[in-house]
């Protein structure tokens, strides 16, 4: 299960839906794998604005991967720079050059989000404590009926 996916997972228990503590889920006893997926900046740029950076930082720290993560979402940083009064000209130029974000940064993020996966372990809700097992990379999110 890619870290991309875990950055969007929340506790399925009904009473947790409105609780901020149910996101992100916390890894316990996780073992990781590294796979290789051809870099695709279009997809990465599509998905980046949706990622909750604070949550991703928490996850990365739990897995000992903080070094792979920039301190802020590079897309936010880019937007901020553009808003900070640089003329329309500059933005247009940036676009013609590509993403406007350092490719090295993007590649690191690609490795973290797309190529790093959890094979075995548990995802634990910070609100209710429910543990979702992960086996062979497959997350088990079946709930006992009384928690639905």
């Amino acid at each position: 299960m890619k870290l991309l996916t875990t950055s969007f997972l929340t506790c399925a228990v009904k009473t947790c839906r409105s609780s901020p503590a149910s996101f992100p889920l916390h890894f316990r006893d996780a073992s990781l794998e590294k796979i290789s997926i051809p870099f695709n900046s279009t997809f990465l740029l599509n998905i980046l604005p949706r990622i909750d950076w604070t949550a991703l930082q928490t996850t990365a720290a739990e897995l000992g991967l903080s070094a792979m993560l920039p301190s802020e979402n590079p897309q936010d940083a880019l937007l901020a720079a553009q808003e900070a009064g640089e003329g329309g000209m500059d933005i247009a130029e940036d676009e013609s050059k590509g993403t406007g974000i350092d490719e090295e940064v993007l590649k690191k993020l690609w490795t973290l989000l797309m190529e790093t996966g959890v094979v075995e372990g548990k995802l634990v809700c910070g609100n209710c404590g429910f543990e979702y097992p992960v086996k062979e990379g497959v997350g088990n999110f079946l709930l006992p009926p009384h928690l639905v």
Partner: protein, 324 residues
């Protein structure tokens, strides 16, 4: 022929043997692939996207999503189906180095072979090894009737092929787990899990018009704009697609110009539900004004009056998948 949905709950019906037979069956694979292509066409995605596949089974759709350059997350309630999906992913992964077509069926126990059970290269229906490739898929063992565990605005799109009719089963006497409640949890969380201005396409096999309307109305109640598309209507190959839109409210653009589509504007229908302005269909099910059935009945009436109405048409000339 009895519907599998009427025999067993899905996780028991799709056991190891059935899941393997299902996935090895050439004819089934072709049909599921065609429907996935059709769903992709209706989604009309403009860039590599993050897609949720509900009732993903053994990943037949996922392989097509991946070839089209997308990244997906699949959920299924059957461990056996997911097991087959994992095995196929593994084989695919291993085959990537070889650049040759993959023979998926290397299972040597022939006790469950049947006529359709030919070996077919997994790449059979695409243009080969230089096909674009997305970010692959992640699998979840989960019951979509319990609600989906994703943050608001997670996915660019969702698809579901031949699965959501299973939510209508009565597989328990539990009054807190009726078909209505499963549908409500499913559509409510699907709605919130999708980005604004996105779409979901669910091909499903409704048992009857009542079930079709129950499903459509659950989607509309959750906030979706909804349209029903029928391919090969009236034949034994009829396929029903529930086309849903989030935000923008209007599905007309998704299905504009397509034949055989009746448009249901969610807002209008929700209004109608609130004000109790709905009509009763012939078969007794409640039919909301603007729904497919209501339109069909209106057409019949108009025919009766000798007016010319557009025929209930069949979909032809399908376009193949887009690549990035």
């Amino acid at each position: 022929m009895s519907r599998p949905e009427d025999t067993l709950p899905p996780d028991l019906y799709y056991n190891d043997t059935t899941s393997r037979q299902y996935t090895r069956n050439t004819r089934i694979r072709q049909i599921q692939a065609d429907m996935t292509d059709r769903a992709l066409e209706l989604l009309d995605l403009q860039q590599p996207s993050f897609i949720l596949d509900l009732g993903c089974g053994s990943g037949l759709s996922g392989e097509i999503l991946d070839k089209a350059g997308h990244t997906w997350v699949g959920m299924d309630i059957s461990p056996s189906m997911l097991d087959v999906a994992l095995q196929r992913q593994q084989q695919r992964f291993e085959a990537e180095d070889e650049t040759e077509d993959v023979d998926v069926d290397e299972d040597n126990d022939n006790e469950d072979d049947d006529e359709d059970d030919e070996d077919v290269a997994m790449n059979g229906h695409t243009n080969g090894s230089n096909a674009p490739s997305g970010g692959g898929g992640d699998l979840f063992l989960a019951d979509m009737g319990q609600g989906l565990p994703f943050r608001p605005g997670t996915f660019d799109a969702a698809i579901s092929i031949s699965a959501i009719q299973w939510l209508c089963n009565v597989d328990s006497t539990d009054i807190s787990n009726t078909a209505e409640m499963r549908l409500r949890r499913f559509f409510d969380t699907l709605y919130s899990g999708l980005k604004r201005n996105s779409r979901a396409v669910c091909q499903f096999y409704p048992k009857n018009d009542v079930q079709k309307s129950m499903i459509t109305k659950a989607a509309i109640r959750a906030g979706f704009g909804a349209g029903l598309l029928e391919d090969d209507e009236g034949t034994k190959n009829a396929k029903t697609y529930l086309v849903l839109s989030v935000g923008g409210g209007d599905i007309s653009s998704a299905v504009a110009g397509m034949e055989g589509v009746d448009v249901e504007d969610g807002r209008q229908i929700r209004e109608a539900m609130k004000s109790g302005k709905h009509k009763r269909g012939k078969s007794g099910g409640m039919v909301v004004e603007g729904s497919k059935k209501w339109i069909m009945e209106k057409k019949e009436k108009m025919r009766g009056k000798g007016k010319v109405v557009k025929g209930d048409s069949k979909y032809t000339g399908r376009k193949r998948r887009v690549a990035f």
